[in-house]
């Protein structure tokens, strides 16, 4: 089926990103907007827009019925869900099928298979992928026994979680009981599902992921990305390919990702996330993200493909137009997420009016953004304002270009993370590459002169109250999107 008209069920930079490809392919776009986004840059650039509900996400961007109703009334052929929001929601994919609308993403069965971490783990084991030692627990006694078997430190995660929510590190058996109670309460409150699982805490880890693309029969990979620079499980900088990996390890990681997607007979674009244990020089499967990711541009930069176009082609029922041998990765790419956050004050959110938004332009520089001078950043959604992506013939060239591009970009009116990225781009350890997931915490301590919160557990309990669900000042809540990253721990 040829897709001629697509509803984009998302906002911000990814909505514009999808539009760009649609325009190139001659596909008409209808943008679903909340009341807060009716006059957004994305709404102005779409061929049409349709309001699907009030500003809070649950009333609009997370409302399956409203999205499907809008798609039907706008008579679109397909829905592109972007990332976050409903992008991995099996109910939306199901409702699309029932309404005769193409869901640009994997099958309902595949969404279900990877949407729940326990299912995903089981499938990964069946596909022969290595897993971090650990498992699910239903009671405190069972949890204590398993923790003993795995050995401390241990990470407790919510089965239904993501984005760091419901995740805690426990260093000794003394703290175990209170930690697991807190995790279960938080998981229950956040996801309506109190189940947790335990796993070995990897002290020195890197977050490495593989971009995969399948047509339901054949799967290829588009190389690795390294997303180890994170704060509380939110990615800040991503690069492709993952630097400083031996050829053997890189091949093993890529092959494992393809094996997993092949096992699922995966259809669409996806990312298999791995945790590289730097001390043991081995890797473990973390999870699979069944959607396009925030950091997809770094892969596009090195492999020269338009990943949104790939998604659309597969959704149209076409077989992959290329073989693994035809994929050539060239040079090195780095992406910085510029967020509306005051990084010098604990990354305090900073919604408000942007007085000036000026970005570097030139060879090897790409800026994906929905922010222009004069726009308002609403308080309802996540804080991503822009992604600055650079490409160079090798990593040092990319780092130099990044530093330049950041220096020639300015955002005024709201606090933002440009300054943080400038400092990181000039950092020696970052320049060498291959930093661990704990890098940023240490880096911030040197920049702000403050003692870092040493563990996720400490971060989540920094306000001493009995209310884990919404408390912590501020704590990170899941948006269920690209940044969700269990496993890789500071």
């Amino acid at each position: 089926m040829i897709l001629r008209r697509i509803l984009i069920a998302n906002r911000g930079e990814i909505a514009l990103r999808v539009m760009r490809t649609c325009e190139r392919l001659g596909i008409e776009t209808v943008l679903a907007v909340s009341e807060a986004d009716r006059d957004s840059v994305a709404a102005r650039r779409a061929d049409h827009s349709v309001c699907i509900g009030a500003a809070p996400s649950h009333a609009s961007y997370l409302n399956v019925a409203a999205v499907v109703r809008a798609a039907q009334r706008a008579r679109v052929d397909a829905i592109h869900p972007g990332y976050g929001f409903l992008s991995e929601n099996a109910a939306l994919a199901d409702a699309c099928a029932a309404a005769g609308i193409v869901f640009i993403g994997p099958t309902v069965a595949q969404l279900t298979a990877v949407g729940d971490k326990l299912h995903a783990r089981r499938h990964a084991a069946a596909a022969g992928l290595p897993l971090v030692p650990g498992g699910a627990v239903a009671s405190l006694e069972a949890a204590r026994d398993l923790a003993r078997a795995i050995g401390y430190p241990i990470l407790i995660k919510a089965v239904a979680g993501g984005g760091g929510r419901g995740m805690q590190r426990v260093d000794s058996p003394v703290d175990f009981e209170s930690a697991i109670n807190r995790s279960m309460a938080e998981a229950q409150a956040a996801f309506g599902d109190a189940r947790v699982y335990l796993e070995r805490y990897v002290a020195a880890g890197r977050h490495i992921e593989v971009q995969v693309l399948g047509d339901g029969e054949r799967v290829i990979h588009l190389g690795t990305r390294d997303c180890s620079i994170q704060r509380r499980y939110q990615k800040l900088i991503e690069e492709a390919p993952a630097p400083l990996l031996t050829a053997t390890l890189r091949t093993a990681i890529e092959s494992a990702a393809v094996a997993f997607a092949t096992y699922l007979a995966y259809r669409g674009l996806g990312t298999v996330e791995m945790l590289l244990d730097c001390e043991r020089d081995c890797f473990y499967f973390l999870e699979m993200n069944a959607r396009i990711q925030v950091e997809h541009p770094v892969t596009e930069a090195i492999c020269g493909l338009d990943l949104v176009a790939c998604q659309i082609a597969v959704a149209e029922g076409r077989p992959l137009g290329m073989t693994q041998e035809e994929i050539r990765c060239d040079g090195h790419a780095i992406e910085c997420r510029i967020n509306a956050e005051d990084w010098l004050h604990d990354f305090r959110p900073s919604p408000g009016r942007v007085d000036l938004a000026e970005f570097a332009v030139g060879e090897g520089i790409r800026v994906d953004t929905h922010v222009e001078s004069g726009v308002d950043i609403p308080p309802f959604y996540d804080s991503l304002m822009a992604k600055i992506i650079v490409h160079g013939h090798d990593r040092p060239a990319a780092v130099r270009r990044l530093s330049q591009a950041l220096r020639h970009s300015t955002i005024r009116g709201v606090a933002n993370t440009l300054g943080l990225h400038r400092a990181i781009a000039d950092d020696g350890a970052f320049g060498i590459g291959g930093v661990h997931t704990g890098f940023l915490e240490g880096f911030l301590a040197t920049q702000t002169g403050k003692t870092p919160t040493s563990t996720p557990a400490a971060a989540l309990t920094s306000t001493s109250t009995s209310a884990p669900a919404r408390l912590s000042t501020p704590t990170v809540t899941p948006r269920g999107d690209a940044s969700a990253n269990p496993g890789a721990t500071p």
Partner: protein, 175 residues
């Protein structure tokens, strides 16, 4: 409708060879300003086209938008416990207003279904958490900021609150 990076680079190639340091392109759909500083170019874009909303497809809830001010960040943003003297009504002169630290969604309880942090009449200490305000997916605790007793809760649970909105009023203890 969009101007692609490739288009901008093509324009830049022309400009590079020229002596111009600034170029403005204004159309009905966008305005693009390219500026040269320290040998590098920057771009500023404004989209001027209007949204073309499909009226027919609008959802029933449209029109009930509680609007929220998103005033630019000011000094108040750094103060989480936003106790401040209210203005106006002299009868309330003793009361201390608790301001929202950020614009966002005001929650009275730690999680859906659990009891509120405080009710009218609840005694509070300076560091008592009295509410949560969700901004950009982050939960920010709001502290009383002063010891006393809650005399007013200004919004229902889950309301949208603007920058510097008064969330609660507290009658401070006599020192």
């Amino acid at each position: 409708m969009e101007l692609y990076d490739e288009d901008v680079r093509a324009i830049l190639q022309l400009l590079d060879a020229s002596s111009f340091d600034e170029l403005c392109v204004d159309t009905d759909r966008f305005s693009l300003t390219l500026r040269r500083a320290d040998g590098a170019w920057t771009r500023e874009t404004r989209t001027s086209s209007k949204p073309r909303e499909l009226i027919d497809a609008a959802s029933p809830s449209v029109g009930s938008a509680p609007s929220v001010g998103t005033a630019a960040a000011d000094g108040s943003l750094t103060s989480v416990s936003g106790a401040a003297r209210p203005e106006g009504n002299p009868a309330d002169a003793r009361l201390v207003a608790v301001l929202t630290p950020l614009p966002g969604t005001f929650y009275r309880s730690p999680k859906p279904g659990s009891p509120p942090f405080v009710e009218v009449g609840t005694p509070v200490a300076r560091d008592t958490v009295v509410a949560i305000v969700e901004t950009m997916k982050l939960m920010n605790s709001v502290y009383a900021g002063v010891a006393g007793r809650v005399v007013e809760i200004c919004y229902p649970d889950a309301s949208l609150v603007a920058q510097r909105a008064v969330l609660l009023r507290i009658e401070p203890d006599l020192a």
